[in-house]
Symmetry: C2
DNA sequence: AAAGGATACCTTGATTATCTATGTATAATA
DNA sequence: TATTATACATAGATAATCAAGGTATCCTTT
């Protein structure tokens, strides 16, 4: 990810699940899609993405299949979300909501200090 | 932090700077304050906090002093934010804003896929 | 008086997410 | 012909956090 430091750790799997949940995609396309949707805030690199895809598949959140491109003969590995993945995504979104709301509360100092 | 997984990685330093920016505090108090302000979402453990405090001090974002408590004789190490720390906090808040907004965009799918 | 829990500091070693670098290969462009 | 973009992948390094352990004092309950 481009966003400096370690801020995005932990959310990358959710981001990947999220974009795949809208349409079957291959790895390189995921990178470009996330880049575009985040307006270049997230610039995932391949060394990050591929291990995540493999892990998500191992957990049965995704399935994959090889597809030969029609324009060029290039092979692409398409990933599709599973039912289990859809549930996991919903759970992770909920957790993200809880987390980001909590950060907001601390940053804005809604409550008083002890 | 209590929030499961690794979601909060990278934001802990900012959280600490943020609570200290409102008043001088000692370590244990920081943990309790963050717990309260986040409504128990963040349950920082000591093994996380103390190394962070030392690192922030080393970077001159904080200064510390030992204070003997008046109620009981217990010694506490109070941390105070510096000018440099205030600037750093502002920068990290800005980054958090960019990051969380980007996550929101990807999750809600504001734009279309390629 | 003893025991346990809360307070208060700290460090070490393990875990894990991500990055950097590297590798392979093809297609399109300059 | 050389470079860039596409497309997959892995290995080793880095770094944030956690789990566990250590020391010590104070307060409350038994």
């Amino acid at each position: 990810m481009k966003i400096s430091k370690e801020l995005s750790k932990g959310s990358t799997g959710m981001i990947v699940l999220s974009v795949i949940s809208r349409s079957e995609m291959y790895g390189y396309q995921i990178i470009k899609t996330v880049e575009m949707m985040s307006e270049n805030v997230f610039q995932m690199n391949e060394g990050t993405l591929y291990p995540i895809l493999h892990a998500l598949e191992k957990e049965d959140y995704l399935t994959s299949r090889w597809v030969e491109s029609e324009e060029n003969g290039r092979k692409r590995k398409y990933y599709k979300i599973t039912e289990k993945g859809i549930k996991e995504l919903a759970s992770q979104k909920q957790e993200w909501e809880t987390y980001s709301t909590a950060v907001g509360k601390v940053l804005t100092g809604e409550l008083q200090t002890i």
